[in-house]
């Protein structure tokens, strides 16, 4: 790729980048949102959206390796100037791509088998018995019972399975180059691990080269040999995995590595962020830790002394344990169950058991983390804790009084004492309301003057300029919106703060700032924090205690470090092992 520039009308988004991918090489393209990494990938395959135009030159075919004599004309094809017919011939055959969102990438109205056989028939119309080729492809991506799966529709498969079908589809004709645009971002950690291994295996087996786009350093280090780091449409650094991750030259790379592995400032215990003062000489983590494969993460120091918590594991034969038992807890939960779906009188009743009996306490001032993959029941649990949903059975007491079965009128006190922060910065703020109205929403009885004063106070506390009060959500970045959401949650000075995947949707660099903000506010307001996430590292940093959930039950709970360092329950072990982390240099 030479001098690739992508612009939307007059505005340049990618400013003349150059790089090469040799045959069979696996290259990672890393950058935060807005860095132009996806635009680069899409210009290679020529599927840029209508408003965007790409200039420069992308040669595809034989890169002049040392072996070919200098004089011979490289018979490669310039993808940017190729016409639709030429591009159509090589897409899916010699050049293929896997996209990020598995749920919408397959045609919902066509059977999976047909969509797979289509890519074969387009490029190799005369292949005999395509049906067997499809079954073979499906089993090559470890999909059980391929014959039956081929007749199934996409909506009947899980996210992981669909992504594996996409992979099979991309690799069907043994492409020279596979493009992967954040293929596993939407997947759970354990599923992600399996898909990544599969991808590496397939690419090596077919001898094709790989361009892997992601914002997650850990994932890249698992998959690629070489890495290119992009920021604001420019390449800031590139090189082998080992060299870049152990001796980053560019400051942005250093900060990115620190932020993504949640490194903390040795003295303040706060996470290093992009704006950590430059003078501070970043000492690379000592070699040994990196070698041991465990990122050096030290939990920030909790404010007041915490009660001694024993490390309990759910084992089949013993009675269902009550985890994290504490006397006079902020929150007390006993045998909580919740089932969805109508069990209809006639015909099969289809019910889903979201929670199958959960009992635990949360001490006052404690930072209680809940970890689990999608479908383990953690968001249902949160809804029940905040009385936005009623349990099928079981008791919940907040600060001593029960909140189950109470009508909204009797829950006024709960609304003031417990508040919520959501995951999606886009969806948690009403686009049509000003920041002042948003933040002041929980404040019921107050004059206009008091509300304005309180809003300004909160804005300052979450590190936003007072001038933000009059603006609207679309004028802010993801990180800033999450700060507004936190300000709203603190409007009534609650005792308990519930964070539902509060940082999962943020870029790595912004994530550190928000986590630091949360730690400070928890100390300042002596909050009891219930922090839910699918990312074990984040929970380990921010929480004193962590509970691991699976299939509607808590399987293990205890102090964060001990659960992470020596997981008892096999599932927890699998979770910890599945975390992608920076490993030794490429083979």
């Amino acid at each position: 790729m030479e001098n690739l520039t992508v612009s939307a009308g007059s505005e340049e988004l990618v400013h003349g980048i150059n790089f090469e991918i040799r045959r069979g090489e696996r290259v990672g393209l890393i950058g935060e949102s807005g860095s132009g990494k996806s635009l680069t990938c899409l210009s290679v395959i020529g599927l840029l959206d209508r408003g965007l135009s790409a200039t420069g030159r992308i040669t595809f075919g034989s890169v002049p390796t040392a072996a070919t004599t200098a004089g011979s004309e490289p018979e490669g094809l310039d993808l940017l100037t190729a016409d639709e017919n030429e591009l159509a011939r090589i897409r899916g055959d010699r050049l293929s791509m896997v996209f990020q969102e598995p749920m919408t990438a397959l045609n919902p109205l066509m059977k999976v088998g047909d969509q797979l056989s289509e890519v074969i028939r387009i490029h190799r119309p005369k292949t005999p018995n395509v049906r067997d080729k499809v079954d073979e492809l499906l089993s090559s991506v470890q999909i059980p019972d391929p014959a039956r799966t081929a007749t199934v529709y996409p909506h009947q498969m899980s996210g992981g399975q669909r992504q594996r079908v996409m992979l099979a589809m991309a690799m069907a004709n043994g492409p020279d180059l596979l493009l992967a645009d954040e293929p596993t971002t939407a997947l759970d950690v354990t599923v992600q691990k399996r898909v990544l291994n599969l991808m590496v295996h397939q690419v090596q087996h077919a001898g094709s080269s790989l361009l892997f786009i992601t914002h997650d350093l850990g994932v890249v280090s698992e998959v690629c040999d070489r890495v290119i780091i992009m920021r604001h449409g420019r390449i800031v650094e590139s090189g082998s995995i080992h060299r870049v991750f152990t001796a980053p030259e560019h400051p942005y790379t250093r900060a990115l590595i620190a932020a993504s592995s949640l490194e903390t400032h040795p003295t303040t215990g706060r996470l290093l962020t992009l704006d950590t003062p430059k003078d501070f000489e970043h000492s690379p983590p000592d070699h040994s830790d990196a070698a041991a494969g465990l990122p050096v993460v030290s939990a920030s120091v909790p404010a007041e002394p915490q009660p001694e918590i024993e490390h309990l594991t759910l084992c089949a034969e013993s009675a269902p344990a009550v985890f994290n038992t504490v006397d006079s807890p902020a929150i007390r939960v006993r045998d909580l169950t919740r089932t969805y779906g109508k069990n209809r009188v006639f015909g099969k009743s289809r019910t889903v058991q979201a929670l199958r009996g959960v009992s635990f306490d949360v001490a006052r001032g404690q930072r209680f983390g809940i970890v689990g993959e999608s479908g383990c029941g953690k968001s249902t649990l949160l809804r029940l804790l905040t009385a936005l949903d009623q349990p099928t059975s079981g008791r919940i007491e907040v600060a001593g009084n029960s909140i189950v079965g109470r009508s909204e009128r009797h829950l006024r006190w709960l609304r003031d004492s417990m508040q919520l922060v959501f995951q999606d910065p886009m969806g948690s703020l009403d686009p049509r309301m000003s920041v002042t109205d948003i933040i002041a929403e929980p404040i019921h009885r107050a004059s206009r003057q008091e509300r304005r004063f309180r809003v300004e106070e909160l804005l300052e506390q979450v590190g936003l300029p007072i001038s933000a009060a009059g603006k609207y959500p679309h004028e802010f970045s993801g990180g800033q919106r999450q700060r507004i959401a936190i300000a709203r949650a603190l409007a009534t000075r609650p005792q308990i703060l519930i964070a539902d995947e509060a940082v999962s949707a943020l870029d790595v660099s912004v994530r550190a700032q928000v986590l630091n903000l949360l730690d400070d506010l928890v100390k300042e307001y002596q909050l009891t924090l219930v922090f839910v996430s699918h990312d074990l590292n984040v929970v380990r940093h921010s929480c004193d205690v962590v509970a691991v959930m699976k299939g509607g039950r808590i399987v293990e709970c205890g102090p964060a470090d001990s659960v992470m360092a020596s997981p008892d329950h096999p599932y927890t072990a699998e979770l910890v092992a599945a975390i992608p982390h920076v490993r030794e240099g490429a083979p």
């Binding site: 939307a8 988004l13 949102s33 807005g34 996806s38 635009l39 899409l42 840029l48 959206d49 408003g51 965007l52 990020q100 954040e182 303040t268 706060r270 962020t273 992009l274 704006d275 950590t276 003062p277 936005l388 909204e408 829950l411 006024r412 609304r415 003031d416 508040q419 919520l420 959501f422 995951q423 999606d424 969806g427 948690s428 703020l429 009403d430 686009p431 049509r432 309301m433 109205d437 948003i438 929403e441 929980p442 019921h444 590190g463 936003l464 679309h474 970045s477 993801g478 990180g479 800033q480 700060r483 959401a485 709203r488 409007a491 660099s509 912004v510 700032q513 630091n516 903000l517 400070d520």
Partner: protein, 295 residues
């Protein structure tokens, strides 16, 4: 407070989601085109309140069906009335019917839609069943029976057409409200102890404002067409109030010998309806197309 808590404003523009450039605000040419046509009709109605070239009700049997001339810019109709003034004055009735229909349609449709969405489990289901029944009564059918029952009048036309519009509005508002309620800011409001009324006024209405405006413009267009059809069946606004529909009906008997008497009102109706439809389309593109739940 150490300064590193202060956020550094990394990117000013809203983040680009992986390569998909945020959609440009389309639809402006449609809004301009629709807007001009609609304002043309509004100006005609307002002007006709004060002035018309001739008295629209003055009959002059001697020179009936006269072709366009200096005094009668567009000629005269079967009773010798000046067509230009009638087209001007005739714009008032369809606009009134349009306004009335949209008003009735919205006052019934919007609350039903919101309540049905908010009580989606329980009463909402039955409310929507009732809505289906109302939708099964085509508006014009209702208008014909009501007009015949209480005598043709603008009021019966508006009630019938309003009742006809309401179920459509209710259905669209319900799906819009369901979308808003599923968003996290609604959950946050409920968690902040806010009741359904607050949710409806502060969160639902502002966010479905786009759909409402599109439904209003479509409703206006349908009402104008229906008023013309009703008058054509002799059940619309009674004489002597000039209305385009009546002019079309009167013109039908002289179609062979004086086609212009029917073409002018026909064009007027077409311009008005085209105007509202273009405006509706343009506004739909202007507001977030993602909320495009008008289907």
């Amino acid at each position: 407070m150490s300064n590193d808590r202060a956020a550094s404003v990394t990117t000013s523009r809203p983040p680009l989601t992986n390569g998909q450039h945020v959609r440009r605000r389309g639809g402006t040419p449609l809004v301009i085109a629709g807007g001009t046509l609609v304002s043309l009709v509004l100006v005609m109605a307002i002007v006709s309140l004060m002035w018309t070239p001739q008295d629209p009700t003055a009959t002059d049997a001697v020179n009936r069906l006269a072709s366009p001339s200096a005094t009668h810019w567009l000629g005269t109709d079967g009773l010798g009335r000046d067509i230009a003034s009638m087209v001007l004055a005739g714009s008032r009735v369809p606009l009134m019917v349009g306004l009335g229909t949209v008003a009735v349609g919205f006052t019934i449709g919007v609350p039903i839609g919101i309540v049905a969405a908010m009580t989606d489990r329980g009463a909402g289901m039955w409310l929507m069943r009732g809505n289906d029944i109302l939708q099964a009564f085509p508006a014009l059918l209702l208008a014909i029976v009501l007009a015949a029952v209480f005598g043709p009048s603008t009021l019966t036309a508006v009630t019938a057409l309003g009742l006809g519009l309401a179920p459509g509005v209710a259905r669209v508002v319900r799906s819009g409200t369901l979308q808003v309620l599923s968003r996290e800011y609604s959950l946050a409001a409920r968690a902040a102890g806010r009741g359904p009324l607050y949710l409806a006024v502060r969160h639902v209405l502002p966010n479905i404002r786009g759909i409402l405006i599109v439904q209003a413009s479509v409703g206006f267009a349908i009402a104008i067409l229906a008023e013309a059809a009703l008058s054509f069946l002799g059940l619309g606004t009674p004489p002597p109030a000039a209305s385009w529909g009546r002019m079309l009906q009167d013109g039908q008997s002289v179609l062979q010998i004086a086609p212009l008497t029917i073409l002018w009102p026909g064009m007027a109706v077409a311009v008005a309806v085209l105007g509202f439809n273009l405006l509706g389309d343009g506004l739909r593109d202007r507001f977030d197309p993602r909320m495009d739940v008008t289907r």
